[in-house]
């Protein structure tokens, strides 16, 4: 029973992380920018929803409002930061540093406005416990599972079935050719980051719904998500999602055999070893 509960908890959190991984992978595969500020967008989503709810906005609208806010932030980062840097022919290193700076600004603005305290959502159905057999899950966990899977499926459908999605994949696979064939990569970039920001807002709201809001809590999930993306192979949305779930489940299960304080350390240690021996990932899309 312990095993099963750990497994299920891991799957729920893993799916949320999977959405983070998929949204990050979308940006990275298309723009090649290591958009670490994505962690800031993820964090902001939760706080926006909290504020909207505090003003009496009904829950679905609060989520949509938060998603809109995240979209704006993501697009702004692309338009006001990444695009000018690209025009100035900035090196990869500089763009990375700028993204890191943007993350610091977002996190600390949030901390300045909302305080560094852990903030709680007070939604009754979220903390209600549902018993399924011997398993216990909260409403928040169930919502996380459902919406994360829906977001993932939605992203897959978008990438493979819609015109915009195909255009994005074309740009991702060959930016140079895309430029020549008038696919307008730069306009695509804004769209991509906008979509990714809206999508990452979903776990950004649901995870804090379960566990509370913190201004600096976005970096570790994002890094774990990028590990998942790399392990799954850049360009493979399915690989990113799958590995995110696998990593979180392994972290949870590892508690059975290892002292808890080492589980995050071990995750990164495994990754570093992976990097040395199989840097292209398991399902690289080329």
């Amino acid at each position: 029973m312990l095993l099963l509960q750990l497994l299920v908890n891991g799957i729920v959190t893993g799916c949320a992380l999977g959405v983070v991984a998929v949204s990050f992978a979308l940006v990275y595969a298309t723009t090649r920018i290591f958009h670490i500020a994505h962690a800031g967008v993820y964090t902001l989503g939760g706080y926006l929803a909290w504020s909207l709810l505090a003003h009496g906005v009904p829950e679905p609208l609060a989520l949509l409002g938060a998603m809109a806010g995240c979209t704006v932030l993501g697009a702004a980062i692309q338009h006001f930061l990444y695009a000018p840097l690209e025009r100035r022919r900035a090196t990869h290193l500089i763009v990375l540093i700028a993204s890191l700076g943007a993350l610091a600004v977002i996190q600390n603005l949030i901390a300045a406005v909302y305080s560094s305290d852990i903030l709680e959502f007070t939604i009754p159905w979220a903390s209600a416990v549902v018993t399924l057999g011997g398993l216990r899950l909260t409403g928040a966990q169930l919502a996380t599972l459902a919406l994360s899977l829906a977001a993932f499926v939605g992203m897959l459908w978008f990438a493979h079935r819609t015109l915009l999605g195909k255009r994005i994949r074309a740009v991702a696979s060959n930016p140079f050719l895309a430029e020549i064939t008038r696919l307008e990569p730069r306009a695509v970039y804004v769209t991509v980051i906008a979509i990714a920001s809206a999508v990452v807002c979903i776990p950004g709201v649901l995870v804090p719904l379960d566990l509370g809001l913190q201004p600096y809590g976005g970096v570790t999930p994002l890094l774990t998500a990028t590990i998942a993306m790399i392990a799954g192979g850049v360009g493979s949305l399915g690989g990113a999602f799958l590995f995110a779930v696998v990593i979180v489940v392994l972290q949870n299960l590892s508690l059975l055999v290892m002292p808890g304080e080492w589980s995050i350390g071990v995750t990164f240690a495994i990754f570093v070893v992976f990097m040395l021996f199989r840097p292209r990932g398991l399902f690289a899309a080329g």
Binding site: L2, Q5, I118, D210
Partner: protein, 375 residues
């Protein structure tokens, strides 16, 4: 003659001015001084919430004092520096407060900065007061470091005694993986075993981690009677997740558990914890709420209390015309020994003896179930 008259006139004015000056000096009260004290608190960074609470406590006490005319006419002014709870920043700030601003005494918070500045305090003879941290290492870090609240070990002793007296013999520990949590875990494991109990499991969590489920599940599989919790943040998610598990344990903790949101959380009903007594009068709480706009939290009360102690010491020193230095303040503190501050304190060592109670949360309020005095 003109010259002599002029000289005479000049001498007259000179004498008049001199007399006036002498009279002025003799007649006026000794010119009111400002006594400057220092405070090194985490005002930004992860400790900012607590540091700001502490600052409010000190400032409220100082404002109250100055409004009443200060100490024998001398006003008190506290210079606050932000150390972000980081040791290197604390060392820099300590040197600044002592060398540039010449303070005789500095308030500190968090064990890291306190431990880092302790050797400096010994060297420079500066009294440093800790009214927030409870780490055991602080008890002997410096003769110039005085702690105004009991160490974690004292709290643990009280709780272990209670648990064993109520027939609890197996315990699991959930602790934060940092100085405060590890210290508390070590103390509990040692004392509980010494009292004949058995530790069946231990699990760490990271500072700021709010997903306790995996750790709690693992602890549950060991089937303890008691879950002892030593975490400083994340109490509300912890209480909620404990409630989800529908466990049969007695959940116990320390003063760390005390915060208004947890007490108000219905899911926290049944939690018990030791509590360093820090009760001040309702009138004081109301006045604080009115002036500062927030409730007078535990740390505000601690630092307010500590400030009252400092004022008593300064009062004695001013009356005895002692120069206000760190060394003198320290000597005077140990001479006075027992302070009739809002929360009374007695010093037979560098750490105050303060009563420790055990409180039980009852979904909205807390009820005191025992009193005790730390040895």
């Amino acid at each position: 003659m003109r010259t002599s008259r002029r000289l005479g006139a000049g001498r007259f004015w000179l004498a008049a001015v001199a007399a006036g000056a002498l009279l002025g000096v003799a007649a006026a009260p000794a010119r009111a001084k400002t006594i400057e004290l220092g405070a090194l608190l985490p005002l930004t960074g992860p400790g900012a919430v607590i540091g700001t609470e502490q600052m409010r406590g000190i400032q409220f006490a100082v404002d109250e004092l100055n409004a009443k005319g200060g100490i024998d006419g001398d006003t008190v002014h506290v210079i606050y520096d932000d150390d972000q709870a980081k040791s290197d920043q604390a060392v820099l700030d300590f040197n600044k407060l002592v060398s540039l601003q010449h303070v005789p005494m500095i308030w500190l918070a968090y064990s890291g900065p306190t431990l880092a500045t302790a050797p400096l305090a010994t060297r420079r003879h500066i009294l440093i007061l800790n009214s927030g941290a409870q780490s055991d290492a602080l008890q002997k870090a410096s003769p110039y470091l005085v702690n105004t609240l009991p160490s974690t070990e004292e709290e643990v002793k009280v709780m272990v005694k209670y648990l064993r007296a109520h027939g609890k013999s197996t315990a699991a520990v959930l602790y934060e993986n940092d100085a405060a949590g590890i210290g508390g875990r070590d103390d509990f494991v040692k004392d509980f075993k010494a009292a004949g109990g058995k530790i069946v499991a231990q699990e760490p969590v990271q500072f700021g981690q709010t997903d306790f489920r995996p750790a709690l599940l693992k602890l549950a599989s060991a089937k303890p009677q008691v879950l002892y919790v030593v975490t400083t943040v994340g109490m509300v998610p912890l209480a909620d997740q404990l409630h989800e598990m529908n466990h049969k344990w007695l959940v116990a903790g320390t003063t760390f558990m005390n915060n208004p949101q947890v007490i108000a959380d219905p899911n926290a009903a049944g939690l018990i914890h030791t509590q360093v007594e820090a009760n001040v009068s309702p009138a004081l709480m109301a006045a604080f709420q009115k002036k500062m706009g927030v409730e007078m939290g535990f740390f505000s009360r601690q630092y307010y209390n500590s400030a009252q102690m400092v004022f008593i010491i300064l009062d004695h020193m001013i009356k005895a015309k002692m120069p206000i230095t760190g060394a003198n303040m320290r000597t005077e503190l140990f001479k006075i020994k027992t302070f009739a501050t809002p929360v009374p304190m007695t010093f037979t060592s560098n750490t105050a003896i303060v009563p420790i109670a055990i409180e039980e949360m009852k979904g909205g309020t807390e009820v005191t179930i025992t009193h005790s005095v730390a040895k």
